[in-house]
């Protein structure tokens, strides 16, 4: 007996787990840099957080008698992203609590992969910032003391050298400091066609335009580059705003989403009390995705002309 199925009878080689593995690979340069930059505790945080997210998803699936879903690697991505968003000297239990929150509350309770309405890693980070503010905003470590570059700029103190910021030798979360390492990973994702420039491009561009207009610094290249390199923007724009599940699926919607994130980040950074704003901007953006998708419904092939004719 021959097998029958609906067309098409061939499929591309891409799979969900392969895409997720690419994202993990793309995050490795920033991870490795973070570990070398910040030391053993950073390494342990990464390992503990990733182990927590994977184990939590496994246990949840077992308890709920669902198919074990950790093979899709999405829990690894969540754990890694969360770890890269933690301060290097944070205690390990922070990673455990964050990992459990990301998987259970943000992801699985809403139906698991593909159903969560906000990025699990960012949801958990914001939960941690609100619950453990002093731990989550303390970036003191052996290598660097004091404020992150953005906080220093905001306070009017001298920021670290530009080169240090681009390379990543500054205070900050484990994975956000090195612009170069993050861009290498981003280039890999772009080359493998896992992401495209619609969201990150419009995000970064609109952010630059916003600070040009409202920062009061005018066209100050050092200031602009510090804003790009000094905080979580690169990590957020290329790895978290591009999260498939929580960004619009329509092409025009992706531009709208990116521009919205750029403006929100600008507002938070310039007018807000904190020097950072990427995480909150993306989370608020995530919440608007259904609305954005609704208003950016693409025009079907051949429909444009008839509309004009009718008008």
């Amino acid at each position: 007996m021959l097998k029958v199925s609906s067309n098409p009878h061939i499929r591309s080689k891409d799979t969900t787990s392969r895409i997720m593995q690419y994202v993990v690979i793309a995050l490795l340069p920033a991870t490795v840099f973070g570990v070398f930059n910040f030391g053993l505790n950073a390494l342990l945080l990464v390992l503990v957080t990733v182990a927590t997210t994977v184990l939590t998803e496994y246990i949840y699936d077992r308890c709920m008698k669902k198919k074990i879903s950790i093979g899709d690697f999405s829990a690894v991505v969540t754990g890694l992203l969360l770890a890269l968003n933690l301060p290097p000297k944070a205690p390990l239990w922070i990673g455990v609590i964050g990992g459990v929150f990301a998987i259970i509350v943000v992801k699985m309770l809403f139906g698991g992969l593909g159903q969560n309405f906000m990025n699990p890693a960012l949801g958990a980070r914001c939960f941690l910032i609100i619950s453990f503010t002093s731990i989550m905003t303390n970036f003191d470590c052996d290598a660097y003391t004091g404020a992150t570059p953005l906080a220093a700029i905001k306070a009017g103190e001298g920021a670290p050298g530009l080169l240090d910021m681009v390379i990543g030798q500054t205070a900050g979360t484990i994975g956000e400091t090195s612009m170069i390492a993050l861009l290498i990973g981003a280039a890999f994702l772009l080359a493998m066609k896992v992401i495209d420039l619609r969201v990150p491009g419009s995000y970064i561009l609109s952010f630059v335009v916003f600070i040009l207009l409202f920062s009061g610094r005018g066209l100050d290249p050092v200031y602009i580059l510090s804003q790009l390199a000094g905080g979580g923007l690169m990590l957020g724009a290329f790895f978290m705003a591009t999260d498939y599940v929580t960004r619009p699926i329509t092409k025009n919607g992706q531009y709208v989403f990116g521009i919205f994130l750029g403006i929100m980040t600008g507002i938070f950074r310039i007018f807000g009390p904190s020097a950072e704003g990427v995480s909150y901007a993306i989370i608020i953006g995530n919440l608007l995705v259904p609305l954005i998708e609704k208003v950016t419904k693409p025009t079907a092939f051949g429909k444009k002309k008839t509309k004009k004719e009718a008008a």
Binding site: H9, S12, K251, G302
Partner: protein, 438 residues
């Protein structure tokens, strides 16, 4: 010049090397021949023979059942065994005339015509009488297509020589081996439309065809050869019109609304046979290919032959196939039984040792957007599939579900291996059925 193309689409493995260099081979049929009365879109044909009648090859055995319908001809000589429902490629049982082939191949006499001396009505009548239908797969009666309300408004007659489906090489062989018939067929169709230019639209993976046709049409002021970017579904009617003329039509419009008439290579050759040689539609080219057959080939087949015989002519199965598809891998029908006849619309028989599709388990959609990127209809397949699965007809229509052309690109690219095309297709079938009833 920028390559002519459209937005969206995919680049699957094309598999054409298996059969592309094998010239057309004529097969002599034996045993019983089956002629389903519905080999076209529209009303089924009505049999004009009865059990026990002796028929000749080229004799009409069923007449058109209405304006949108087409007659059917015997392709061998023999006796009418019976008229009964038989299984066809779609899996349906369709009433069919069965003829016992006597192996003598006695033919009726054909009356050739000089196309230059025929008027438009005579040309269309000849095409209608010959039972010519769209042979690319849809099977729409060609005489209906060639009779638009305002023939003077037709500006382009487009020959669909794209052959964008992977593995298929039947149109390629036809263009290479009988290019003059294609060109003469095009000239006949152009006679129907005084203001039209003829376009031979070929994908650029067939450079030899492009060169050959360009050379042969050098003196034809009304015919141009256009190279298209190789991309699936470049041969889809609406995408083809867009690529060649820049005009867009939606699902509720006809090509004629954009001043176009589109016909497939084999259809145009059938028009040539019908008008210039006076021969009804009796043959077509079928590519028998895939990794499960010993000798992938292109066959010149008499319509009505059993698929088993085609496989046998291709050297039989190398290994037991897991899946056999009538047509190309993107849009063809999977067969559960090979005991079906070759019809006017059967372009290929693709035999695969492994069915990669049934082995894949669909996983949750991750909203990656690849389906949106690939969709030539510019809809959101992910959303339509969900609406279809929920049975939400109203929202499905509001989201342009009917603009889907079922090309299969969304399912092809989906990393979660979801059956997007299948869900959307089922919903469309339901809605089209309702529309028909209303």
């Amino acid at each position: 010049m920028a390559k002519l193309t459209f937005r969206g689409g995919v680049h699957p493995y094309d598999g054409k090397d298996l059969s592309k260099d094998k010239p057309m081979k004529t097969i002599v049929p034996k045993g019983e021949m089956v002629y389903p009365l519905s080999q076209h879109i529209g009303a089924p044909a009505v049999p004009v023979v009865k059990k026990g009648d002796r028929v000749l090859a080229g004799q009409k055995i069923a007449d058109a059942g209405g304006f949108v319908s087409a007659p059917i001809y015997a392709t061998v000589s023999g006796t009418v065994k019976t008229i009964e429902p038989r299984r066809v490629v779609t899996g349906d049982m369709v009433n069919a005339v069965i003829i016992d082939n006597d192996g003598l191949f006695e033919e009726v006499e054909y009356i050739p015509h000089d196309p230059e001396k025929l008027n438009k009505k005579e040309i269309i009548d000849l095409i209608k009488e010959a039972g010519v239908v769209g042979m690319g797969g849809a099977g729409f009666p060609t005489h209906v297509k060639l009779s638009p309300k305002e023939p003077d408004k037709i500006e382009y007659v487009i020959a669909n020589c794209a052959e964008c489906e992977p593995y298929l090489t039947s149109d390629y062989r036809r263009m290479l081996e009988e290019p003059q018939k294609l060109i003469d067929g095009m000239k006949i169709i152009l006679r129907l439309f005084d203001n039209a230019q003829g376009i031979l639209a070929v994908e650029d993976n067939k450079q030899d065809c492009i060169e050959l046709l360009t050379r042969l049409t050098a003196q034809e002021s009304r015919i141009t050869v256009m190279a298209l970017k190789t991309k699936y579904p470049q041969g889809a009617e609406r995408q083809l019109i867009y690529a060649t003329t820049g005009r867009e039509i939606n699902s509720s419009m006809l090509p004629a609304d954009a001043g176009c008439v589109v016909d497939n290579v084999d259809t145009i050759v059938a028009v040539y046979h019908a008008v210039a040689e006076g021969k009804p539609l009796m043959n077509r080219i079928v590519t028998v290919t895939g990794d499960a057959v010993n000798d992938p080939r292109n066959f010149y087949v008499r319509i009505g032959m059993n698929y088993h015989d085609l496989i046998e002519e291709a050297g039989g199965f190398k290994t037991e196939p897991e899946k056999v598809v009538s047509g190309g891998p993107m849009m063809g029908f999977a067969l559960f039984d090979l005991n079906v006849p070759t019809t006017k619309t059967a372009s290929a028989l693709l035999c695969l040792t492994k069915d990669e599709v049934s082995a894949l388990a669909p996983s949750p959609c991750i909203n990656c957007g690849r389906c949106v990127e690939a969709c030539p209809g510019r809809v959101v397949p992910r959303k339509l599939a969900v609406l279809a699965e929920h049975g939400d007809e109203e929202a499905f229509l509001a989201n342009d579900g009917m603009e889907c052309c079922e090309c299969g690109c969304c399912s092809f690219v989906c990393p979660a291996k979801r059956q997007l095309t299948q869900s959307i297709k089922s919903m469309r079938k339901t809605l089209l059925g309702k529309k028909k009833k209303a």
